[in-house]
Amino acid sequence: MRPTPSAHLAEVQARPDPPDAELVARTLGGDPGALETLVRRHYRTAYVTALAVLGNGVDAEDACHDAMVQASARLEECREPHRFGGWLHTIVRNHARNLLARRAVREGPPLDAVAPAVEATAPRRLDRAELRGRLERAIAMLTPVQREVLLRHDLDDWPHDAIAESLGTSVGMSRQHLFQARKRLREILGTATLEEYRDG
């Protein structure tokens, strides 16, 4: 049974052993190991947030890096250390939006043109870097809300009620966006690419 949004977010924000509040306190005391645990714990969610805004893996990594370094430097400003995840999420989203405003998002060649070629030349196996590139470019072609729902659900394992709460929409709309995002992604990637990495 899926947890409620609040329970899910609370779990994400205060995963035990050790809880975020303790790690924040230890980082404030100068413990780099505590900061490392915080970064490892929250990086994927931060990356998903940035990727949903920017639609580009390289830019998302840059935004995450800058936001996390800045958050480390300003950790005293985290008023509720047990909600470190939510605080970091806001900083990452702001960084990503600023980056989006400053840079033209780098775009690869349209995948509609790439996928048929792959089908024609299969069965050459795609390596992980190639798959990553194709997937990122395909995801960049989704709408921002489709990206966010798809990444939160299929990469960061958020339930629909938590996604809906985070986006300020209904569970039904979240399901609808996910359905549309998956359909569009399959169209962009093409059958051959999907089978390549399902088998690989």
Partner: protein, 123 residues
């Protein structure tokens, strides 16, 4: 049935070595940024962190102070005659205005009142 698409190729933690390098860099630069802050930054940040509470406290003090000013004991300031306005003590001014000589008892009362408070003895 869950027809999710496998997004593991773009999982930032999927490539362990790469992820370790990303984390190490963030921690190194994050700790360096913390160490590089000027000495006065931490108290200022603490003030910034608690600014809403400090503002609320200041507002509460202002309200309490204003309330006590409004509701506190009023000062004994009756209407002052022109002679009193020149600095002459109240009883003396009133005897002068009435053009009469005080009795010994009135003088004693006036001096006693002058020693304990500003209200003075009535002539």
């Amino acid at each position: 049935m869950d027809d999710r698409i496998d997004l593991s190729p773009i999982d930032p933690a999927g490539d362990r070595d790469r992820f370790d390098a990303i984390v190490t860099r963030i921690v190194r630069e994050g700790m360096a940024a913390r160490a590089a802050r000027p000495a006065g930054a931490v108290p200022l940040l603490l003030v910034h962190r608690w600014r809403r509470e400090l503002l609320a406290l200041a507002a509460a003090i202002a309200v309490l102070a204003g309330g006590s000013l409004l509701t506190g004991p009023a000062r004994a300031t009756g209407p002052r005659s022109p002679v009193e306005s020149l600095g002459v003590p109240g009883p003396l001014a009133r005897w002068a205005e009435q053009n009469r000589v005080p009795t010994v008892g009135e003088l004693i009362n006036a001096m006693a009142a002058g020693a304990t408070g500003p209200s003075g003895a009535e002539p």
